[in-house]
Amino acid sequence: MKISLTVNGKSQSGEAEGRTLLSTFLRENLRLTGTHIGCDTSQCGACTVHVNGMQVKSCTMFAAEADGAEVTTIEGMAEPDGSLNTIQQAFQDHHGLQCGFCTPGMVMAAASLLKANPKPTEAEVRAYLQGNICRCTGYHNIVKAIMAASGQELPALAAE
């Protein structure tokens, strides 16, 4: 079937089977490979994107369900001039990534957290990241980066 959707502000369409996952459609049809498939069992959150403004796991939604939707992926997060946005820059500044595989999902999750809760506490950040797994166990700096992106002074985080 034909799927038409808006991805990062751009109209896109393509053919998909019923079983085509949104993550597959983004990566293989649209070649937007910033959305990562970490586990394919709906647990790791590396595939997190926003559909109509809501954070979802794109490996746990069919492309057909996103027909007509507005989708934002990690490729849509940079500023219009191509520079890193506040969250991305904070991840770089605070070394919020090690291997980088979970990073697209972490940034997408952080963006929806800060939209709903612009000044979260450290505990709120950690709770919100429940669905995003970092196999390098680099949570400490991820949390630090998100706190910094929220414009808050960096607290003495638990592990320090």
């Binding site: 069992t41 959150g45 954070q55 746990t60 069919f62 957290l113 995003n132």
Partner: protein
């Protein structure tokens, strides 16, 4: 996963017509169904999506009864019941993770009747009514056992009606990998009765702890259940906890829920 036909009806009637096909299965949020299909544990001929049907989404209150339509997702339930039924809002806010809560629905959860799902505990404690396209079913009659409900082939959950309690609390003892409750207890206090719904504990699925309900109706304090004991005979035993451990948790969590009310 196996191939299937994706069907996206715009109305409930269209959905019910599409579900008459043999091997057709309803798809709500898909947060359980899609992972199951990826493992090839499920092979529907067609999936009928319920999320695009406006008449299946929304929350309303009338005469102190909260009605939640079947395809309403957990995140919407968190937001829309925060003032009217904070106990249920808190329960919904602890399901899965933020991405799962944006997709998964109450109707899907209730219809799947996972023995560790959260909503069934609230539905039992509140003596909720499960609405389907064909009839209304009392929660006590709806949940028949692990992954088993009173739903007939082609029948779908269109909503759930909860009489709003004076106060309620849900205690979820989380299994940290899955975030499902290892055991969960929902306590709801009404003028004339107290409901205690238990999930994650029994081999027979969600149940009401009648003895505790009686004791708490007479005296709504944690002390009221201190001499009761929950038998371990029918409890789930797995690598996360023995039957005795779960039976013990039921009592501990019931006490904590009452104390938190």
């Amino acid at each position: 996963m196996y191939s299937f036909e994706f069907v996206k009806p715009a109305t409930l009637d269209e959905a019910l017509a599409a579900l008459k096909d043999e091997d057709a299965q309803p798809l709500s949020g898909g947060q359980t169904l899609i992972p199951t299909m990826k493992q090839r544990l499920n092979q529907p001929g067609s999936l009928v999506s319920l999320l695009g049907i406006p008449e299946l989404v929304g929350v309303s209150i009338s005469d102190n009864v909260l009605s939640i339509k079947g395809a309403t997702n957990h995140a919407a339930i968190v937001a829309e019941t925060r003032d009217s039924f904070p106990g249920l809002s808190a329960l919904a806010g602890k399901i899965g993770d933020p991405a799962v809560r944006n997709r998964g629905t109450i109707g899907g959860s209730i219809a799947n009747n996972d023995p560790s799902a959260c909503y069934p505990a609230a539905a039992m404690a509140c003596q909720a009514t499960i609405m389907t396209n064909a009839r209304e079913i009392a929660a006590d009659d709806f949940f028949e056992g692990m992954f088993t409900t009173a739903l007939e082939e082609g029948e779908i959950v269109t909503g759930v009606r909860f009489p709003i309690p004076q106060t309620a609390n849900y205690q979820k003892f989380e299994q940290p990998a899955s975030r499902f409750p290892l055991t969960g207890v929902f306590v709801a206090k009404y003028g004339d009765r107290v409901g205690v719904g238990v999930t994650g504990a029994s081999n027979n699925g969600v149940f009401r702890w009648g003895e505790a309900e009686e004791a708490l109706t007479a005296n709504f304090t944690p002390d009221a259940i201190k001499d009761l004991s929950m038998p371990a005979d029918d409890m789930i035993a797995d690598l996360h906890g023995s039957a005795e451990y779960r039976a013990h948790l039921v009592k501990v969590l019931t006490g904590r829920a009452v104390a938190a009310c």
